[in-house]
Symmetry: C2
Subunit: 271 residues, 2 copies
């Protein structure tokens, strides 16, 4: 069975619209990029469309050299008309930490700045990484998390690690296991889980044999196979368990939450 | 069997002494406290002794009101003669986040600042929380971590959550499960683990029935029972599995690492 995230998406969108109607100014998101490759360009185009759909001001700044990136990040961090800064990644020639040193955590709507990631450990999710937050919202929407065994496959800094921390928060209290390429007996571990989050970025990783009839499977993967976008979970899994679709599952909620972060920042800045 | 951490302690101490001999100035640690209770006072006394044992300059500042705490933290953060700042906690009347806003992450030798905790997710452990780091050092000393199933009992911000992140780092690559009070079938989970880290702060939590003959058990607990300091692991467990002692196990290494962080900071500050 596929999990339909559309009602949740509508709920988030309605809440954003409602909150925006209470602002005096239109919130603004700026994307900063440098030497974007074709997939980055296409991502930015769809981001622009989403921003317009939500009624946000949107701008793309393409730097002509790497020091211009850092200068722009410093300026945008100070700019009182800008609520959120999106940085395409990886940025060529630039160390990620250098990017963060020039980006205010207060406009880090992606939740990638070390300060915001550390805040998660204190239970403060003002800017959580959007994809991890999307998984949490979907789970809270479809099940009771407390006491459940959650197995996360993948230990990335954008999903696996922050998600583990978020699911341990007292109001959620899942028992969390993080698995990865070095994990032994992965199938045995996932078969015993109540919830499986597939976030390894590997098409076809989760098979029928790895789930049980009560499993809830959240598919975070976005892989291109034969020109088609597929997740980390094989289609066959939905014959047995509940699975979020790809595309149109976690990604859809992630986009909405990125926009919600811009609005949240605007509220904090008294827009 | 008890795990003897003395050789590891000596190794860390020798490395610190060696590195200190290469400095031009003596590194300095300042502890800031406010309305300390008896256990905080006794902790600070033992910290002072440890600092002297390692040859560090040490000072205790007792604030007379809460705003003086914050002012002192700002001053010490700027003070070029100070390498590390220790803040007793919890501080009465003061929100923890307010403390962090006034404390430079560059002198946060305890590794409690959100910035330093977030850096762990990027694999940067310059200032990791000392107790979590002690567990990692002990494990690296007694076993090969890669591919092992590690079960951490306890999800604190000082041990459980940062430790999970640290054990997932690629050079360690443990499969990590974090359990807590809401976990179902704790004994079943721990029995299947290669490594158990008991960090719940509950005396007698880990019993013989929860381990197997090959288990390595790291006891992080420090509990006072009938005036005696005991860990989270029952004595009987050492009849079957390998266990670190309390006192004289994790705590001993933690203290050494706190001092090591001061030296590390001094090196960075070109002392």
């Amino acid at each position: 069975m596929l999990i339909d995230v559309k009602p949740l998406y509508s709920e988030i969108k309605n809440s954003i619209m409602d909150r925006m109607s209470k602002l005096k100014k239109v919130p603004k998101l700026v994307a900063v990029t440098y030497k974007p490759d074709p997939s980055t360009i296409s991502y930015l185009k769809s981001q622009e469309k989403a921003a317009k759909r939500f009624g946000l001001d949107y701008e793309i700044f393409e730097a002509s050299n790497s020091s211009e990136v850092l200068e722009k990040l410093r300026n945008l961090s100070e700019d009182k008309s800008v609520n959120g800064i999106f940085v395409t990644h990886p940025l060529p020639e630039l160390d990620e930490m250098l990017v963060f040193e020039n980006l205010s955590p207060e406009k880090d709507i992606e939740g990638r700045h070390p300060y915001n990631l550390g805040m998660l450990m204190y239970g403060n999710e003002f800017f959580a990484p959007c994809t991890a937050e999307a998984v949490v919202k979907i789970l809270e929407n479809v099940t009771e998390i407390t006491g459940k065994n959650v197995v996360i496959i993948g230990r990335s800094t954008t999903v696996g690690k922050p998600l583990a921390t978020m699911l341990l928060r007292r109001d959620r209290s899942a028992t969390v296991t993080v698995c990865h390429t070095k994990t032994k007996n992965l199938a045995e571990i996932t078969r015993n889980a109540d919830i499986i989050v597939a976030a390894a970025g590997k098409a076809g990783l989760v098979t029928k044999e790895m789930v049980n009839a009560d499993s809830i499977v959240i598919d975070v993967g976005i892989n291109v196979v034969d020109g088609k976008i597929v997740g980390d979970v094989k289609e066959e899994v939905s014959e047995i368990a509940k699975v979020t679709p790809v595309p149109g599952g976690v990604g859809r909620i992630t986009t909405a939450l990125l926009m919600e972060h811009v609005v949240k920042s605007a509220e904090k800045m008294n827009f």
